[in-house]
């Protein structure tokens, strides 16, 4: 596992959609390095024959009947929206063509 560089954090920040300034990237890189170093022993502690536990308690086949329930009105849905138009959520352009 490679050391966490500023560039690594920049890539992660992009994946996570968080704008970060240079000083933030640098600070996070060193903090992440510490965290990653100290959690490394986790992978050393396990072997292939140990199954993974994704849920703390075993449950299976929890299904819902295919029956329509209460819905929100468009007003309720859009009430908390930062921007809306024509009963829809409004978002800025997707492509950068400036």
């Amino acid at each position: 596992m490679s050391a966490i560089t500023r560039e690594t954090v920049a890539h992660l920040a992009e994946l996570a959609r968080i704008e970060m300034k240079d000083d933030e990237l640098t600070a996070l890189a060193s903090e992440l390095e510490i965290i990653v170093e100290s959690v490394k022993s986790v992978s050393d502690a396990v072997s292939d024959d140990i199954p993974a536990t994704s849920h703390p308690l075993p449950l299976q086949n929890v299904f819902r009947e295919d029956v329509v329930g209460n819905t929100l009105t468009a007003e309720e849905a859009l009430d908390g929206a930062p921007d809306a138009e024509d009963g829809k959520f409004k978002v800025p352009a997707i492509l950068d063509e400036g």
Partner: protein, 501 residues
């Protein structure tokens, strides 16, 4: 702007195409995949939603049991193994049509895997396509791009989002690479998607209307130089919304790839968008997250565990597979290969089957559905079933003919009135007084008149030229406006003239 393309023939001389398909099928459940919002098409924007479909803070998903059963049925129909344990996973990427900024899907443990289906091309050639997997997931919302031209994402100033479709249950069917189709690749592409559509429709798990996006195909195309076996770089073409588009898009991408490779350049692995209007593809939006979806098991959902009893119950509920049904019907009906293929291509199979079930011989059903009704459908540019003619109409017309109440010509007229909405055939015959004149008295009068008008013909008949009777029959039919039974008229003429038939 347009890309260079090579002619298809030239491309085929030099390269072998490798295909792959990801077909998304929208299930026709009453509610969404993970919440109780209605699964509906075309409603007022942002009304078919619950806090869950909108991904509001605090919400949790719960799996629609019916969607799981539909997915298992589809897996079985595709000859897949159904996973004993299958998990949902989160596919993480940011896009405004995705309410949680992750899609709940399946990753390494899909509900169904390792199947195959046989695809029969029009000339009867059969290709086997291997299915890698079929997995459950949810649809995204719908973006409308505003302020630009023709609603395209390019040039748009802003976009509007409707989350009605967000969370609609999907099954994604992924094929293994399809090698060896050669020049039949575009045709095979079309036939494959048609087969999937037919299967899901037959299972009753999807409305299967491509124009509504119920069945959507992403077509992967790559080329390898003839004689080699290493796959080339592939592109994934989206926005292929009809069977015709599938065929055209695959053909186009083969030609475009060939041109790129011929010019010594490399194919860029990317998403291409198909444009039916210009019949070409353009580079799609570059996906910066494409190689890193950070899949992990969905912690808010628990595994789907199947057992033999459940799978066997679902298997017992499966309808007969379309290909087997075709084989059976062809044998039952005694049609020739060509006759049957025509019936299938005309989309008349269901109608004929129903007509036969309602009591008409297969040959009669075929005659009507492939003949007069097909002609009406073509004139009006509608589907056979939308003409107003029903299996029952055909059965009734046939009964009237067999009872000699009407003849073929009148029957066609009656059909015309049926599709005009005048009622049932028997009713129309009655109302319009179209029944064959079977009253010998009336016929005799008409015959006497005809004989009197054509004494020379009468003499010829008397002299033994029996075939001359045709002229008299014609005259009688004219006089009765076609409503006479021609055979009976002929009998009466010969009787009257004392000729032994």
């Amino acid at each position: 702007m347009s890309d260079e393309i090579l002619s298809f023939e030239e491309a085929m001389e030099k390269y072998d195409p490798v295909l792959g398909f990801e077909v998304h099928v929208e299930l026709n459940t009453a509610t969404k995949m993970f919440d109780a919002a209605p699964n509906g098409f075309g409603n007022t924007p942002n009304t078919n939603i619950t806090p869950v479909s909108l991904g509001l803070p605090g919400v949790l998903p719960v799996v629609n049991g019916k969607a799981v059963e539909s997915s298992i049925k589809l897996g079985l129909a595709l000859g897949c193994e159904i996973a004993p344990v299958s998990h949902f996973a989160r596919k993480n990427y940011f896009y405004p049509d995705t309410p949680k900024n992750f899609q709940t899907s399946q990753f390494d443990e899909p509900i169904a895997a390792n199947g195959s289906i046989d695809i029969e091309l029009e000339d009867g050639t059969v290709f086997t396509i291997d299915i890698e997997r079929a997995h459950m997931e949810e649809d995204a919302g719908k973006l409308t791009h505003m302020g630009g031209s023709s609603g395209r994402i390019q040039g748009a100033e802003f976009s509007l989002v409707d989350y009605n479709r967000a969370g609609v249950p999907l099954v994604e069917i992924v094929t293994r690479p399809i090698v060896g189709a050669g020049e039949r690749a575009p045709e095979l592409a079309r036939a494959y998607v048609a087969a999937i559509r037919e299967i899901v429709k037959n299972l009753g798990i999807s409305d299967a209307r491509m124009e509504r996006g119920n069945v959507r195909c992403d077509a992967n195309v790559s080329l390898m130089p003839k004689g080699t076996t290493e796959f080339g770089t592939r592109t994934e073409t989206k926005n292929v919304n009809s069977l015709r588009s599938v065929e055209r898009a695959v053909r186009y991408e083969i030609q475009r790839h060939a041109a790129v490779l011929e010019s010594g350049q490399k194919i860029v692995q990317e998403t291409r968008m198909w444009h039916e209007d210009t019949r070409e593809t353009t580079a799609g939006r570059p996906k910066s997250d494409a190689d890193d979806y950070r899949y992990f098991p969905e912690p808010d959902l628990v595994p789907v565990v199947t057992d033999e009893a459940w799978i066997e119950r679902l298997r017992s509920e499966l309808p007969e597979p379309p290909s087997e049904r075709r084989k059976r019907l062809k044998t039952d009906w005694g049609f020739s290969d060509e006759e049957f293929r025509d019936v299938v291509n005309a989309g008349a199979m269901d109608a004929i089957e129903e007509t036969v079930a309602a009591g008409a011989p297969a040959s009669v059903a075929r005659k009507w559905w492939m003949g007069e009704i097909a002609r009406i459908a073509k004139d009006r540019e509608v589907e056979l079933t939308e003409t107003g003619a029903t299996p029952q109409t055909v059965v009734e017309l046939n009964k009237l003919i067999e009872a000699k109440k009407i003849n073929d010509k009148i029957a066609r007229q009656v059909l015309g009135f049926v599709v005009e909405g005048e009622g049932e055939p028997a009713e129309i015959v009655e109302k319009r007084n179209l029944a064959v004149v079977s009253d010998d008295g009336a016929l005799n009068t008409a015959i006497d008149e005809a004989l009197a008008a054509m004494p020379d013909v009468a003499d010829k008949i008397r002299a033994g030229k029996v075939q001359a009777a045709g002229a008299i029959v014609g005259q009688v039919m004219k006089a009765t406006r076609g409503q006479a039974d021609a055979a009976r008229v002929r009998e009466l003429i010969l009787e009257k003239l004392g000729i032994e038939n």
